[in-house]
């Protein structure tokens, strides 16, 4: 009974994906004349070739991979160190840092983009992948830091003391004892920042306005569609190139993703 309602609804969720996949592997004319039809008559790799070679989606993919990996590493480094210090240390000024951090969560991203753009421009980094990486990795650490804080706060102090007795310094204690224990948190943070960075749009759009060769996939598809409004086959192929990797990563690390979301609600 429930399925009778769920199936048509889920079809609504499934259709755009099915359309993209099918349209990417059938000739352009079939897509444009075929209407809502999802059954390909002929198979072709033309759309992918056009997108990959002519429309430079090879470069866009590489840019996206570089940006995403860098953002993931930076986010993990910055937030695990901060989360550890904020959970274990009782240093003066800690509460001020925390209040500023949590307060920043209420700031919608589109409204800081101008000063961030001008700042990075002033650093002389505009029109470089570094600009996108810095702007993406520089903000939005609230959730990862809170996740790391929550985790490190539960580790008994004896662990640290034992490491210290063994002669490990602060950094060694962190790197070889604490950080490896936080692996589940690191996985959660990694998948969130991976998806966030891969799907980023406004930041890479703004920093590549004068440097088309640095576009990431989202921006590349936007520009491609702006220039080739009728190339639906090329668009579908580009969409598959852009979305497939992130869906694969999501399906693979689903558990951590859903746990992370659930954790942010339950606390």
């Amino acid at each position: 009974m429930t399925h009778l309602i769920m199936l048509p609804l889920v079809f609504l969720w499934f259709y755009p994906y099915a359309w993209s996949v099918v349209s990417s592997i059938r000739p352009q004319s079939e897509t444009i004349l075929g209407g809502a039809n999802l059954i390909p008559q002929e198979f072709t790799t033309e759309n992918f070739e056009r997108a990959w070679n002519q429309a430079q989606f090879d470069a866009y993919t590489l840019n996206t991979v570089i940006v995403t990996i860098s953002v993931v590493f930076l986010t993990i480094a910055i937030s695990s160190l901060a989360g550890y210090a904020l959970a274990r240390g009782r240093m003066p000024g800690k509460s001020i840092i925390l209040i500023a951090l949590v307060g920043s969560m209420f700031l919608p991203k589109g409204f800081t983009i101008i000063p961030v753009y001008l700042l990075i421009d002033a650093m002389g980094l505009n029109n470089s992948l570094m600009a996108i990486i810095l702007a993406e990795a520089g903000s939005a650490h609230v959730m990862p830091i809170l996740l790391y804080m929550g985790f490190f706060a539960t580790i008994p102090a004896e662990m640290e003391e034992a490491a210290k007795v063994d002669g490990a310094g602060y950094f060694r204690t962190f790197w070889s004892v604490m950080f490896p224990m936080a692996m589940p948190v690191t996985a959660t943070v990694a998948i969130f920042s991976f998806i966030g960075a891969w799907n980023g749009f406004l930041t890479p759009l703004v920093f590549t306005l004068n440097a088309p060769e640095l576009r990431t996939l989202g921006v590349g598809i936007y520009a491609f569609f702006g220039e080739n409004t009728i190339d639906w086959g090329g668009l579908a192929a580009a969409a598959v190139i852009a979305v497939l990797p992130v869906i694969v990563v999501f399906l693979w690390l689903q558990k951590y993703f859903v746990d992370g979301i659930a954790g942010s609600i339950k606390g």
Binding site: T2, W19, G35, G89, S95, L98, I221, V243
Partner: protein, 337 residues
């Protein structure tokens, strides 16, 4: 959110009690004390340093700088010297197009709270049933748009909704209906973009609700059943009250996220036709970055952003206060049991 709340509260309390440390040692000694405590924690400071630096550069500085830029007529190049006082703010406040984008932004917020969140709850209630065959497949399918690049979702829907050959209009014609110019007509464009954004974001809200639903012990429902309560009765007297504290947080989250609709609007309509789908984010983007505008107006765009930012901060604060109050009441109820 809860974690954030807790830490936030605990720290605020700490800050207060630290400030009023009752056994007051002489001023001099206190300073030495602070210094030695800071020295003892030098490693901790080093560990938080990267975070503090990025927070200063990419969050706090932008807030300060926006206030500064807002008072200048500035294209982003050369020194800031053309002071125009409140002109930018006045211009934004008297521009009907600005208020139009402001209003549209709130339509997105309204839809997220009153359409997306209840719809997601409905889905969550259905998919929370452990006996439902294939519920994980349903969940994953509904969730996938959340992890898909929003810009791509927007462009694919722009094609699907195309007036001439778009699959949706072809299907409408096939069943004898007139084609609809979904994105090209001012009367349907906003509703269409909001519908797509609802479609896209529903999955994450559904996961929030599912997480909340799973905190309700199954035994409660069993007990209600023994007492002869029907499905609706147990929904009303078990599910709703127990979901309440979560509901406030979930609504707050969807509300805040609704202001990030830039990607979907920019890719589907870029604010058109005739501003019908323009939101504050696309409005600001146009003035600061759009290549069609030959001279960027960073000063004006900053003022427009600020005006909006202040409203959002105020609204978020009000909501935060409500959340805390509800939390406290919920805690009080638990304590009295």
């Amino acid at each position: 959110m809860t974690a954030i709340e807790k830490i936030d509260l605990a720290e605020a309390d700490n800050a207060l009690s630290e400030g009023h440390e009752p056994p007051g040692p002489p001023e001099r000694k206190k300073n030495d004390d602070l210094w030695s405590r800071m020295k003892a924690h030098r490693w901790h400071y080093l560990f938080v340093a990267p975070m503090v630096i990025t927070l200063l550069l990419f969050t706090l500085w932008p807030i300060v700088a926006s206030w500064g830029y807002g008072f200048f007529d500035w294209n982003g190049f050369g020194p800031l010297e053309d002071w125009v006082g409140l002109d930018n703010f006045i211009e934004a406040a008297t521009d009907p197009a600005y208020w139009n984008s402001f209003g549209n932004t709130f339509w997105f917020a309204f839809a997220s709270v009153f359409i997306q969140a209840p719809l997601a709850l409905l889905f969550a209630l259905v998919l929370n049933n452990p006996k439902l065959f294939g519920r994980n497949v349903y969940r994953v399918l509904i969730f996938i748009p959340v992890v898909s690049t929003t810009a791509v979702v927007g462009l694919v829907f722009a094609v699907l909704l195309d007036t001439n050959r778009g699959p949706i209009n072809v299907a409408l014609e096939a069943i004898g209906l007139d084609p609809v110019n979904f994105l090209g007509s001012s009367s349907t464009a906003l509703a269409t973009v909001i519908a797509v954004e609802t479609w896209r974001g529903l999955g994450i809200t559904m996961i929030y609700w599912l997480a909340a639903l799973q905190t309700i012990p199954v035994e409660l429902y069993d007990a209600a059943k023994i007492d002869g309560a029907g499905r609706f009765a147990s929904f009303r007297s078990i599910t709703i009250p127990l979901l309440m504290p979560f509901a406030i947080i979930i609504l707050l989250l969807t509300f805040i996220t609704s202001f990030n609709a830039f990607d979907i609007v920019q890719t589907m309509t870029a604010g058109g036709p005739n501003g019908a789908t323009d939101i504050v984010a696309t409005y600001i983007y146009r003035y600061a970055f759009s290549p069609e505008q030959f001279i960027p107006r960073f000063g004006y765009a900053s003022a427009a952003a600020l005006l909006f930012g202040v409203v959002i901060m105020a609204l978020s604060l009000v909501q935060l206060i409500i959340v805390r109050r509800v939390r406290r009441r919920a805690a009080g109820l638990e304590g009295s049991k």
